[in-house]
Symmetry: C3
Subunit: 350 residues, 3 copies
């Protein structure tokens, strides 16, 4: 956190688009959660679960929605979108790392690269041939960027990102450390029991304002590109197979796997630990809850699930064991119904 | 894609082992999917799902199986294994990166290494002591290779791969970026509640023609080696625990976890997102479908599953909640059957 | 394995805290599993499953618990905690890599760093500003360490680890290759459908004797720190979200995902492939079995599950399909019971 930042509540309210109920001269010099904030600090309520901490917070001011004003005993910054106001307030207290503009002397660069003079290329970076970095691009230490990659205005790679050849990214993207973009897809022909590799000729095309998490992997397309639309956001340790297409503004939480050639719509939410099979289509605005498995196309927006919540193991084991006989149970139930009702005019599931 | 590649259909048919139905003089200068291919390009049908695009494709020629010839309105390359023919055709249009033979001046090398003069060791690579690289080996930028590793003929590491000490690989393997081979297994003794690390003395032994995906991790063995047989293929973000043994030609899709000391047979298929518990055995030719959990040995070949397909969430929640009472339901059904039939000569699941 | 190590059984028994039944002069020069050990080697029995190999082992001596002595035909090292004795014995045969003390000439270092003269900083490492490395710290080749990080006494990073700014680690920790600590959490505000990034101001605070596996990712906190207690052990490819807190001595197996702001107790065991939702609490000594999904707080110690074991696919599909009608089945069973018993004095699940 930036240690010397100070701002009056009045100025802060303007900056974050909130209406101030309280003293505009009150000075804020930090930001913290409701439980931990001290006098002089700003806090926020953006998750209902933490509402209980609001009445007793030691913060000097709190960003809240209008519906919570009554519970707030300190200065209130009332926002129609408290989370958005919070993002703007946090930005104010962010300490930007000191960047050296230009190419670090340890960088190894190929032929025909176009590096904007305002770009920053960190230590031990390796650039291939014909790499193109636009204005304000930041390449962290130890990144390796393949031939013919291009990075748009202000796009940033954290340290130790790998781009294979032919990855083209838009502007203002952020890729976290360890991510690998453009590795070969998992495609093989089978010849008399042996696997023969399919050479991958496609690349990866990434829109603007995309964020990709740490150690996430995105394979290049087989012949055409794997495609991520604008403002797609992807968490850590996500796997995206070859030729996948992801629509704009779709959010993918950690540990998700998406198999090859899946086509995901716009503004979808894909919960952590979910798996999506290949060669299927997901409509726009589909919400897949955490740990679900999708193995057929989902053609209408809505919420989909297939996860089970953990239960005490002895109880779980008994029920899970019964699942093996569920088909048999269903048949026995049907037979019993017939015997009891002596007619067949019942709701039928078969 | 190689931009200046041109080949006649007649020559192509010979190269990829297909029978040509059409004009042998027709010139092909690219390769694309049925939907996107233009005149002058080759296409293919290797997944039944895309058969609908065959009649209207703009491609000049299509690789197909004999069973689809009637639907094909353009020149046909008829193959007994269209996918294999496609792999060979794609190889033709692959643009190989320009490689510098020899050791890049930024490489840091330990003592007693044996580097074949035809090997290529890229920028910023770090080699330990006694590393052995055979003819045609390629080490991408930023790789770190530990003491006593050996890489066989034409084996390639993409940029930023890590091999711990004592990883021995056969010939013509390919490891993708970010993969870590030979990290310590997750083995600890518990001493009065505290974890005490088990030192790991084994290595990793990898056969020929093995492919390992991006950011995949393979732990070294505790005392003996973790072993991957010939032609094993592994996708991205897969975890393989210490002392695991994987038989030849087994294919493992993305996001799979295999716990320590599991012994996996030959020619198995392990679907994406699956988990395999430790200390068990999987027979040859077992196919585990995506997102399954294996917690006991599978001793006969065949297909195994335990995943559920995602359903609309309200419907799913109701059914999942009932699962908690499935054992009770089964008992009640049994009691009811006894009451109704007044005898016990029924099929019995207990 | 250290090739020239030799020790008498008498000395070994003292070293590993075992009682010797056999010849104290017998010389041991290696260690191997029951099946593979040869004369002159030590073996062990720490997993009941391998008990069958005990009577026929060729090892010269075996570390065992008192309960297995009768089965043992060779010299026995009887231990109250065979696994702990084994860890100590294996330590003896571990060949430590040769380390160069000091900072390698290829290291790029920021301003104001404090590097203890006994620390070892490997080739191609990049250190930010104000990094602090205490005595005996080891930084492997190609690591990138951000501003204001500190590593306690004897903490080790394997090659190619990334620490973002403001990661503070205690003493005697070990982080494996490819791990990324301190990446931004997956936090966004939604503004008219678009994702706006929440700047992350917190860091990561890690206790003593923590081990973190290869390619594991741990996000920094949003305003406060993500926290790992002392002696937490984490396997490969684990994702830990922002603001998570993990209690001392908790063990997390491979491929686990823990979403943001989850609070995990002490001495928990979290099985491989499990998922834990955000903003919940897990009590001390909770054991979550492999592939479980936790989506609500677990407030009492005990074992919890939600995984299903894989079954032959045809059988599985039938039963899984029936699950979609389980709620309906439960209702039909209830109706049938009423019809049969003509009263409602039954156990009720609703």
């Amino acid at each position: 956190m930036k240690r010397d930042q100070q701002i009056s509540l009045g100025a802060l309210a303007d900056l974050i688009g909130a209406r101030l109920m309280g003293d505009p001269e009150c000075v804020i010099q930090g930001i913290a959660s409701l439980e931990r904030a001290q006098s002089g600090e700003l806090s926020f309520l953006s998750n209902r679960q933490y509402r209980k901490y609001l009445p007793s917070t030691q913060a000097s001011a709190v960003i809240i929605g209008a519906e919570d004003v009554e519970l707030c005993a300190v200065h209130a910054l009332i926002s129609e979108n408290p989370r958005l106001s919070l993002a703007k307030a946090a930005k104010l207290f962010e300490s930007e790392p000191e960047l050296s503009i230009g190419v670090h002397p340890t960088v190894v660069m190929g032929k025909g690269c176009t590096i904007d003079p305002t770009a920053s290329v960190g230590p031990q970076v390796v650039l291939g041939n014909r790499v193109r970095l636009e204005a304000g691009v930041v390449i962290g230490a130890g990144c390796v960027i393949g031939d013919d990659c291009s990075l748009g205005h202000q796009t940033q790679l954290s340290p130790r990102v790998t781009l294979y050849a032919n990855v083209r990214m838009g502007k203002q993207c952020l890729i976290h450390s360890g991510a690998v973009i453009g590795s070969d897809g998992f495609g093989f022909a089978n010849h008399q029991g042996a696997w023969v590799k399919m050479p991958h000729l496609g690349g990866v095309l990434i829109g603007d304002q995309v964020e990709i998490g740490a150690n996430t992997t995105i394979d290049r397309g087989f012949l055409e590109d794997t495609v991520l639309g604008n403002n797609v956001i992807i968490d850590n340790l996500v796997q995206i197979g070859h030729n996948v297409s992801i629509g704009a503004r779709t959010a993918i939480a950690g540990c998700v796997g998406i198999a090859g050639s899946a086509i995901i719509g716009e503004s979808c939410l894909i919960g952590g630990g979910s798996s999506i099979a290949g060669h299927l289509q997901i409509a726009d605005q589909v919400h897949i809850t955490a740990t679900s498995g999708v193995n057929h196309s989902l053609t209408t927006r809505g919420v989909y699930s297939s996860g089970f919540p953990a239960k005490p193991a002895t109880q779980w084991r008994k029920n899970a064991a019964r699942l093996q006989f569920l088909d048999e149970m269903a048949r026995r139930l049907r037979v019993l119904e017939k015997a009891v009702y002596s007619d067949v005019s019942l709701t039928e599931d078969e």
